[in-house]
């Protein structure tokens, strides 16, 4: 179970370290992106909405501990949401619990070593959104959460590492494996449907 240390004070009064802005002023503009990430993590709209609300409530509650650093409030907010997500998963005992990298390596290491590094197949990526979405859903949660953050194109590896609370090397490793898995799925799809550009198509 992941713990979140939260202070018990209101976000309106706690503005230290936040450039004098309230929690609402800083956090609400990121609501769209936070929700989209929650949706990809949970694959369920209602659960995503609940998760976002829980994250914002927790963020508001512990806002007095937030310090506006170079990345702003977004990674901090996403980290809170991720912890809430992991707590929910652990409580429900359905989704895999938060695993450290060593456990992940044990779980996926064999596949990673056997799996040959692949380049993305030659496909028309403008028409592959549905397949990419399915491939993302098929990823193990630890890889999916990293890949989702990466897919926003707004977060650096370091920011993703901060959100996931892992070293940057772990982020790169997870992204590598996630992409390889997606590439393999897309390649299989392309072979089944004879879609390789410049070959069968």
């Amino acid at each position: 179970m992941v713990d979140i240390a939260e202070a018990g004070s209101s976000g309106r009064e706690a503005m230290a370290g936040s450039d004098g802005k309230s929690f609402e002023e800083l956090a609400v503009p990121h609501l769209d992106m936070v929700f989209r990430i929650a949706l990809r993590w949970t694959n369920d709209q209602h659960e995503a909405e609940d998760l976002v609300q829980e994250a914002y409530l927790r963020g508001h509650k512990s806002f007095n501990r937030f310090e506006m650093r170079e990345y702003g409030i977004r990674p901090w907010l996403l980290r809170i949401m991720r912890n809430a997500f992991l707590n929910r998963a652990a409580r429900q005992a359905r989704a895999p619990k938060a695993a450290d990298q060593q456990v992940l390596d044990q779980m996926h290491g064999e596949a990673a070593t056997v799996e040959e590094a692949m380049a993305p197949p030659t496909l028309d990526y403008d028409r592959l959104d549905a397949e990419v979405k399915t491939a993302m859903q098929n990823l193990a949660p630890e890889f999916r959460e990293a890949l989702t953050l990466w897919a926003t194109m707004e977060l650096s590896y370091q920011e993703i590492a901060d959100i996931l609370e892992v070293p940057i090397g772990t982020v790169m490793s997870r992204l590598h494996r996630a992409r390889q898995r997606m590439v393999r799925d897309l390649d299989d799809y392309a072979r089944e449907n004879r879609l390789h550009i410049g070959r069968e198509l």
Partner: protein, 284 residues
Amino acid sequence: MTEEQAREILPIHADGELDARRASELDQALADSEELRDEFERWRALRRCAHRVVMSTSTPAGLKEAVLARISRKDHAVKFPLTGWFSGISAAAAALALVFFILQPKPASAIPMIAADRFVEIHRACALGGPHNTLGLNTQDIEQARVQLAGLVDSRVLLPDLSANGFELKGACRCFHAKNLDAVHVYYDRQTPAPAMVSLFTVGCKVCVKQGRCERCVCASGRCREYQVACANKTLVYKWDEGACSYAICGDLGTGELRALADALEFALENTGPDLQLTFTSDN
């Protein structure tokens, strides 16, 4: 940089995360190889595609308002936030209180809490569903029954004569398995004016009925009795204490009739004649 080395870091370069030195080397490799450039573009296309997937969903209408409303409610709920040193002292006091609560010895006289349906279950199973007469009462004569019980129990069993109310003794058992409590269950039935059964319980120690409301009465002897009244499965239970024991009556009678029957019961200590020494050994 070999082509193999270049391929390994192509996705990272596509993400713009390579350091300047290696990025420069890779750019050179890309300039020299059309195949590498194609692969580089496919990595970028994959990310763009993933980006579209993530961004394709719009935020549900009302989510922002819901978030703000919950935050606002939270603000109002925190009228007197504990801050600074005061919150620290409060937390320490709470922790001390918790430790004290955990470590303090439990009082030996803690009264067990019993749900009303414990009584009702026995009434239904052993009286209505019986007769379950494991104590072997074979007489309807109350005085003889009291004698039969002598030597079987070590507390005073409520065994009243209810013939004036039309009820006859039918049997007795000790089917009361809540929290290892010893209890005797005796039950009566009647045929007129309407068939009915009532059960009386003598529990070997004081118990408390969960969610029971209190009612008081003055018995025929002039002494006060305080009931705990609860209902389970549409069956009323009246429980009261006397000496070191608890007694209860339940039955499928109307509220007024059952209460009147309970009120008519004299105190067991005064009405059971000679002491009844029950062993409470297993009867099953």
